[in-house]
């Protein structure tokens, strides 16, 4: 009888302790990775390769997401605002929603699925095939070689992607506004820029930098600590995407509180 009550509690306790341990491990891992930025050598070639992989090759999926999100926002805002004769607010709703929230969050979720998984799979495979041990025997610090360039690349590339996503998202809203909802093109754009403040864009880009850091850190950490062959690498890849996604959503709320709470 006691075990019916205690077993779930014990499982809960184990999960809580495991989560605390993992949080500490990820924190130390991120600190060590960051410390290598200030200790030469820095592998610029690997940084550049990761940067191009994230910023350039993620562009199509992020662009499509942004355009369709802008289009849907314009349509949905219209159906809601038309009831109150507030259609003129559509352009500002689209641009503020995109720059503050949807641009950074949706781009980050897309990149987490694409890049976080790739980092975890690549580094995880290197772990289970002894390639990381081989790096150590070849006078190369694996953290410096595999982890730091990727985290830095993700942190710097995501704001760029989000800037593009903001522009394309507004363009998506503009397309629907002008071709479907009957807005005058110039008036839609004027309305967009009249209500847009610098802080809207800057806060979104700052969020993007944080999300990029999270994606880079979780992807590399999950791969670096993976064990147990193909199954371990698969688990690490899944964990990288799930953990990054949850952290992105949670940090989005926290950062919104920091930037905009009164």
């Amino acid at each position: 009888m006691a075990s019916i009550v205690l077993d779930p509690l014990a499982a809960l306790g184990r999960a809580a302790i495991g989560a605390c341990r993992a949080t500490g491990e990820v924190g130390l891992f991120a600190l060590e990775a960051a410390s290598h930025l200030f200790r030469p050598p820095f592998y610029w070639r690997l940084f550049w390769r990761a940067f191009v992989e994230i910023a350039w090759f993620s562009l199509p999926v992020v662009a499509l997401t942004a355009v369709f999100t802008g289009m849907v926002l314009a349509l949905q805002s219209y159906t809601g605002f038309a009831r109150f004769n507030a259609q003129s607010a559509i352009a500002s709703v689209v641009v503020i929603s995109l720059t503050r929230e949807l641009g950074p969050v949706l781009a980050a979720l897309m990149v987490a699925g694409r890049i976080g998984a790739a980092f975890a799979a690549e580094i995880g495979t290197m772990r289970v095939t002894d390639q990381i041990d081989a790096l150590t025997t070849l006078s190369t610090d694996p953290m410096k070689y595999l982890v730091t360039p990727r985290i830095l690349a993700a942190t710097l590339a995501l704001p760029l992607l989000v800037l593009v996503a903001d522009i394309l998202g507004v363009m998506g809203g503009w397309l629907i506004g002008t071709y479907k909802l009957g807005f005058v093109p110039a008036a839609y754009l004027k309305s967009t820029f009249d209500y847009l403040e610098t802080m809207d864009v800057v806060s979104g880009l700052a969020k993007a930098g944080v999300f990029g850091f999270v994606i880079g850190t979780m992807g590399t950490w999950c791969g670096y600590t993976s064990r147990g062959g193909a199954q371990g690498v698969g688990g690490a890849t899944t964990l990288a995407v799930v953990a990054s996604s949850i952290l992105i959503l949670a940090l989005d709320y926290a950062l919104t509180e920091v930037f905009f709470a009164r």
């Binding site: 095939t129 002894d130 390639q131 081989a134 025997t137 070849l138 006078s139 190369t140």
Partner: protein
Amino acid sequence: MRDGTALPKIRLRGLRKAFGAKQVLDGVDLDVAAQHGTVILGGSGSGKSVTIKCILGLIEPDAGVIEIDGRDVLRMPRGERREVLDRIGMLFQNGALFDSLPVWENVCFKLLAQKRITRAAARDRAAEVLGQVGLAASVGDLYPAELSGGMQKRVALARAVAARPDIVFFDEPTTGLDPIMGSVIDGLIVDVVKRLGATALSITHDMASARRIADTAAMIHHGRIVWTGPAAMLGETGNAMVDQFARGEREGPIQMELRR
């Protein structure tokens, strides 16, 4: 010199390592003579790989002494330890070649990492070392995934010796190869190590390979070295444990731990 005998290149004393409740190394004592080939024999899970990983600094032992050229590497400053370990080359069991790099960059990875060579010169050096292991210079432009198992092993051997190490470790060098290719790899190991004047420490299950590449053999069982002697004597050592292992006999003092 130590007590009138030649200083061993590598000296292990009382090396212990446990993973959880499992005591993998339980006081390993071993001397590896300079410029000799030594092989550690033992069943799966006996602690061979862990011993080598402890020497390489990939695993921290719980206790014991690891001396290289008479200096205790576990108790020296980090920078000095790195310098000592930089003089060791390692051939991993599965090659552990970097998939994302062409063969020439794999071979000269250490030289490039230590900035001892330019990228242009590294191509020439890679061609030279690939030639020593019987591969054409054109193989340098291929990627590891484009190579057969035997070729991958040769490239891994080339990588292990390209930086001219003092000590080379070979982890199961013939595993996964057919007997002829295994013999070829063993021959290459002997040639390359002799050319370098290096000390070789290998671990293997393959008795034929052990006799070919080593002068001295040591048997590890339950985390301890239980016998050391000439590799040529394997199978006729008079030690029941070593002879059973060398002949691959089911009956004897070594009982396989089977989970039922």
